[in-house]
Amino acid sequence: MVVKTTDSLARSKFTAHHLQQFISKVLWYVTLTALGFIFSLPFFWMVSSSLKIEADVWLYPPKWIPNPVLWENYPKALTLMNFPRLLANTLFLVTVGTFGVVLSSSWIAYGFARFRFRGRDAVFVILLSTMMLPGQVTMVPLYILYKQLGWLNTYLPLLVPAYFGGAFYIFLLRQFMATIPTELDDAAKIDGCGYIGIWWRIILPLIKPALATVTVFSVIYGWNDFLWPLIILNDSELFNLSLGLATFRGLYSTQWNYLMAASVVVLTPCLILYFVAQRFIVEGITLTGLKG
């Protein structure tokens, strides 16, 4: 917000203008810190509650720092909720689903980005408009379809659709591909490379940041997915972490220290992934958010 004055003026001496700049800077930090504090308070509270003895959870006024610190809440909560099983299920679903959606979306995006043919733009508009379609419209018939295919209580309904691309990801990848010069494709063509070869050897390596963005979005989405697993899966041996956590709440609804410990564990991988891939996520949103 503060507009920089020319260098010569800035170097001359400390003026009223500098003072004003300094004060506005301080105010900015104070506001950000206060808001940031409010924003992170729920997380802090979650971790703090997860380490308390049960009686301290119900203490009023609340105890901010747990004393004693009960690290054993974590292994206890995880055993109670059958964590290894849920984690393995979730990892399987997320890995296979993400692999499918990234592979197919980049394949489809290549078709939209690099070939000119009649009807392409119309199809692309339909693809974009499916993003506005509430999923509930297709929920009931899809459930019936999966039931008739005998897919209920299996992972197929949660995985197979991913292999036909995701509209949002196709859009994002197409935008990225459009920035790559077509001369590269032409050069590869002269060298005798087919279209599939170009997609695999030229395009995919060049859009790695976009692929990373899509991967991160897909992993976070899959990790938190709740409604479809809730509809499809009955057998608790097949549950993902979201479903497992919801069930865990039903069973231990009074033991908030355990509930919070389990929640922290479910959240943490997403947080770690976010920290690692932060640059890509922000880049991806930046690209998609601009000028539709």
């Binding site: 900015w28 729920p42 479910v266 930046t286 958010g289």
Partner: protein
């Protein structure tokens, strides 16, 4: 493409035409070949189910017996006889009406705060974005506890500054506001989109306005806001579509209670379809939701002409 053009120019025109059209055909073939998976997926997982859902919505189907054609009866029942349908529609509208505009204003303000070159800004951006990464069941559990009337953190803070302490999730009057408050905690992703938009506003405009003696407020109101209208519009549409589909929070936190105050539309649809197995009825509900969202989106697109500013438009005139 350029290469094909160069080659074609070097051979006699007749052959060139044939060659060109063959190349165009080949290009079309490969284009369809690559987008084919999406088209198949769209037919099987979107278009087919949509048609099926429209048909199902005109039937009575409870999975055990074959669907029975009943015409518009589901729709008539919904609008005339089903109190909970109307209530869930009211609850959802209430939620959308407050959470979307408040969310947009809040996210915009936040993005303005974050759009300054100060050291440590990346840290703050991360802090505000984190809640959006962690949506879902775990966060819903956390908020049940934060909203606890006696032992929750929110009422503790309110009490300590001398404000009244609502019952939140157990009080029908306060349950919806509780959900709205919680949704504001997750505005980070909207703020990031605003932030991206803000960085696209040409600096030159501000400099020119400054030379003309425009104040901070004038610069904000006459440059930032108009330049940001496309992003505001985008967030408005996406926020509306998303908020109409609110589900996980109410399923986990209140199961629709107290006194059905948080029985949101999709939760009620879920109950009708997957708890009561009234598939035809649920399909009709889905179509009503679709039509509501479609109409609201079209109205907004129409209204957008009046207030959304696109840079390209100026050049055209």
């Amino acid at each position: 493409m350029g290469l094909i053009g160069i080659r074609a120019a070097k051979i006699p025109s007749q052959i060139a035409f044939k060659r060109r059209s063959r190349l165009v055909n080949r290009e079309a073939f490969w284009g369809w070949f690559f987008i084919a998976p999406w088209i198949i997926g769209f037919m099987v997982f979107t278009l087919g189910p949509m048609v099926a859902s429209l048909w199902l919505s005109l039937t009575d189907y409870e999975l055990i017996t074959p669907p029975r054609w009943i015409g518009l009866k589901n729709y008539i029942n919904l609008f005339t006889a089903d109190r909970l349908f109307r209530l869930s529609l009211y609850n959802t509208t209430y939620y959308v009406l407050f959470s979307v505009p408040l969310g947009i204003i809040f996210a915009f303000a936040l993005s303005l705060l974050l759009n300054v070159k100060l050291s440590g800004m990346n840290f703050f951006r991360t802090v505000f974005y984190l809640p959006s990464v962690t949506s879902g069941v775990a966060v819903s559990l956390l908020w049940i506890w934060l909203f606890n009337p006696q032992f929750g953190l929110i009422n503790y803070l309110l009490r300590s500054i001398g404000l009244p302490t609502p019952g939140w999730l157990v009080d029908p009057k306060w349950a919806k506001p509780a959900f709205i408050l919680m949704s504001l905690w997750g505005v980070g992703s909207t703020a990031v989109i605003f932030l991206a938009g803000l960085q696209g506003v040409p600096r030159g405009l501000y400099e020119a306005a400054e030379i003309d003696g425009a104040s901070h407020w004038q610069r904000f109101w006459h440059i930032t806001v108009p330049m940001m209208t496309p992003v505001i519009f985008f967030n408005l549409i996406m926020g509306m579509i998303g908020s109409f589909q609110v589900f996980t929070q109410s399923y986990i936190m209140t199961s629709g209670g107290p006194q059905d105050a948080t029985l949101f539309y999709v939760l009620y649809l879920f109950r009708q379809g997957f708890a009561l197995l009234r598939m035809g009825y649920a399909a009709a509900m889905a179509w009503i939701l679709f039509i509501i969202i479609l109409i609201l989106t079209l109205i907004q697109l129409r209204l957008a002409d009046r207030w959304v500013y696109y840079e390209g438009d100026m050049a055209k005139r």
